[in-house]
């Protein structure tokens, strides 16, 4: 673990989530970023463009999100930690390269500051309706990791975590903010460099000739190389064998895609990050993520004031889901209430995991503003009766 102190702005700051995300990326060692302006995410790259020249990073504003999302893959294969930043409409354009990153196992971070959709939707107002897109938006079958911060402090902390996870699992990580978290200004404490946990890229120690780019020597993830080191490796979005060469047959597909899925799915409990409170004797658990988790707390308090026994489970890593934990909760409560700024995305997965053992109640909201906490309280009270 090595932290470049140049990227760490140690101290107490008053930052919005977008700026905190930038600082998290710099602290994590990100030294290449590409972006295209889009509200409400632009402040992330505005700050990067100002900060990078002082610390040896390169920012380029590309011609569109297609270009941004693959330029960061190019930089990753040149050995840099890299990131791109966008919001819904740009995220749609980036799907192509989320798929390429998943297929080629390129560690890279995609930030999506979610706004209301579909299409141009509500550019300046919040939404959480890209959650399924983050998971399944590119064609084909693959797994990614998605994190949802609920404060500027978490925008800093979890951006570092997003980079760490992308390096550890060689997977594109979706950093799913929302307009509220992105534009909310709060105190952000940036620790000293030596207090940060930063995961370095695991480059192979095998010499050229004894190394295969997609052979898994240990665990789930192949060791990485970078261009210019003499490995003369080949990377392709086609289904490939351990050598990295195209292999157009079902056996190669089964071996490769199965591993791409399993390296995340079978490690879901290890990847999982959540905050659980008061679930031991709860009748109802409110499951939420991102800004909605803070709104939900108000609803929980209102319901508790009327006698409801409510616990909370806040997902920090939303994909993969903490399946074991959700199944455990489903086995002991009357209902799981899921408020989210969409008409049912994460709730569908919760319902699947509950498997009929408990009721899953969606509290939908189209976005544009956060939930009315009373709607959440009402839903809790209704099921706890």
């Amino acid at each position: 673990m090595t932290v470049d102190p140049k990227g760490v702005l140690t101290g107490h700051h008053y930052l919005d989530g977008d700026h905190a995300c930038c600082e998290g990326a710099l602290a994590a060692g990100c030294r290449f970023a590409a972006g295209y302006p889009i509200t409400p995410s632009t402040e992330v790259v505005e700050r990067i463009s100002a900060r990078f020249p002082m610390i040896g990073g390169v920012f380029i504003q590309m011609e569109d999100e297609l270009a941004s999302s693959i330029a960061v893959l190019g930089a990753a294969w040149a050995g840099k930690k890299s990131m791109t930043v966008t919001s819904g409409p740009g995220f749609s354009l980036m799907m192509e390269h989320i798929g390429l990153a998943a297929m080629t196992e390129t560690p890279v971070v995609f930030v999506n500051v979610q706004r209301g959709g579909p299409s141009t939707g509500l550019p300046t107002l919040p939404g959480q309706a890209d959650m399924m897109q983050a998971r399944w938006g590119s064609h084909g079958d693959y797994e990614i990791i998605a994190l949802c911060p609920n404060s500027p402090q978490e925008c800093f902390d979890l951006t570092i975590e997003a980079f760490n996870l992308s390096e550890k699992y060689r997977v594109p990580v979706m950093f799913m903010m929302d307009e509220c978290v992105g534009h909310m200004t709060e105190r952000v404490i940036i620790p000293k460099p030596e207090e940060l946990h930063v995961v370095d890229r695991k480059f192979t120690s095998r010499p050229p000739g004894e190394y295969l780019p997609y052979k898994v020597y240990d665990g789930w993830v192949p060791e990485m190389v970078k261009a210019g080191d003499g490995y003369r490796f080949h990377i392709t979005g086609l289904t490939h064998n351990e050598v990295g060469y195209p292999a157009m047959n079902w056996q190669a597909q089964e071996k490769l895609v199965r591993r791409l899925i399993d390296k995340i799915r079978k490690n879901a409990d290890e990847i999982a990050m959540y905050e659980e409170a008061d679930t031991e004797d709860a009748d109802v658990v409110v499951l939420s993520y991102g800004i909605t988790s803070r709104v939900a707390m108000r609803g929980v308090e209102m319901a508790r004031a009327q006698g409801a026994k409510v616990g909370t489970l806040r997902l920090i890593v939303v994909w993969p889901m903490p399946e074991t934990k959700i199944r455990e909760i489903a086995g002991k409560v009357k209902a799981i209430v899921v408020p989210e700024m969409n008409y049912g995305q994460v709730a569908l997965e919760v319902e699947r995991l509950a498997g009929g053992r408990t009721q899953t109640v969606l509290v939908p909201h189209g976005g544009g503003t956060v939930h009315d906490p009373e709607a959440i309280a009402r839903a809790i009270l209704e099921v706890s009766r």
Binding site: R31, F32, A34, P53, M54, G56, V58, I60, M62, E63, D64, L66, A67, S68, I70, A71, V72, L73, G74, A75, A76, W77, A78, G79, K80, S82, E96, H97, L100, K226, A227, G228, D229, G230, Y231, R232, F233, H234, I235, T236, G237, L238, Y245, P246
Partner: protein, 293 residues
């Protein structure tokens, strides 16, 4: 001296060290021009003296998009149209690399057209080799942005009627510092152009007109790949320094070839360093450009 059948003790083809021989034979049809361009590219690398460990090749999708997979370099087969922005990230993240984009007309000019014009405008220090077979080969010969008027294509069964792009003019007007066009017939000139383009700091662009015997020549009743090569030989006129606006290609018409543009302009990283140094002074440490002595 007699013809020798290659055996274990015969010398190997001089291009073999530059190719992934474990992937041969390649996918290209008999008489396809792409292999000839790759042959020339391998020889351009031989004579350029670069450390091949520092040369990276990036392709998009399509027949020419398969080139990356056959070259024994760090090689990247990316998505359709996006080879240039991938190469941009690769080059900017490690300017020590010599980065070459090798792809086709559909990939670079149609779906990737936006990236081409902006990389040229920014003067990203990469070389783009565009093999122009005048249609989409991999998918079965559909009309493309370089299909000449009246030529038959699978989605233009009555002949193409859109104005095609004049590729050198496009690259020139967007700011490329080196622009040349050759055909797959012009093997020595093409090899030299590839060498020059790679040595040129900034965005260099080489169009290579090449046959697609299976889909372009056959469907247009123009014979096979060899007939196309004879046509290139007969109807090409070398005009170095010609104004790129005058080098349109009409259906089976004259082809103006040569080196059209060779000029100096700061690369993206040079311009970035210049601007930041001017504005930030000693707070800025210049970023490597790959062009340091």
């Amino acid at each position: 001296m007699t013809t020798q059948v290659a055996e274990a003790n015969t010398p190997i083809n001089p291009v073999e060290p530059f190719l992934r021989m474990d992937r041969m034979p390649h996918i290209w049809c008999p008489g396809c021009g792409i292999g000839t361009t790759v042959n020339c590219f391998a020889r351009a690398l031989t004579s350029s003296g670069y450390d091949l460990d520092k040369v990276a090749i990036v392709s998009g999708i399509g027949c020419t998009g398969r080139v990356a997979g056959y070259l024994n370099l760090d090689s990247f087969h990316t998505t359709h149209g996006r080879a240039i922005p991938f190469a941009t990230g690769l080059k900017l993240a490690n300017p020590e690399l010599k980065v070459v984009v090798y792809s086709g007309d559909g990939d670079l000019i149609a779906i990737g057209g936006n990236h081409l014009i902006h990389a040229a405008r920014r003067n990203i220090d990469i070389t783009v080799v565009c093999v122009n077979n005048m249609l989409y080969g991999m998918t079965g010969g559909q009309v493309g942005p370089a299909t000449p008027n009246t030529a038959i294509a699978s989605t233009a069964p009555y002949g193409a009627f859109e104005q095609p792009f004049n590729l050198p003019f496009l690259a020139d007007s967007c700011g490329a510092v080196y622009v040349a066009r050759w055909t797959s017939y012009h093997v020595r000139q093409m090899t030299r152009a590839m060498r020059e383009a790679m040595a040129k700091p900034g965005f260099s662009f080489i169009e290579i007109v090449a046959p697609c015997p299976t889909l372009y020549q056959r469907r247009n009743r123009l014979g096979d790949g060899l007939d196309a090569m004879k046509y290139y030989k007969q109807r090409s006129t070398r005009k170095d320094g010609a104004s790129t606006r005058d080098v349109d290609i009409d259906f089976q018409g004259d082809i103006v070839v040569g080196k059209f543009i060779d000029r100096e302009r700061p690369t993206f990283l040079q311009a970035m360093n210049h601007r930041f140094t001017e504005r930030l002074g000693s707070r800025y440490t210049p970023y490597p450009t790959g062009l340091e002595d």
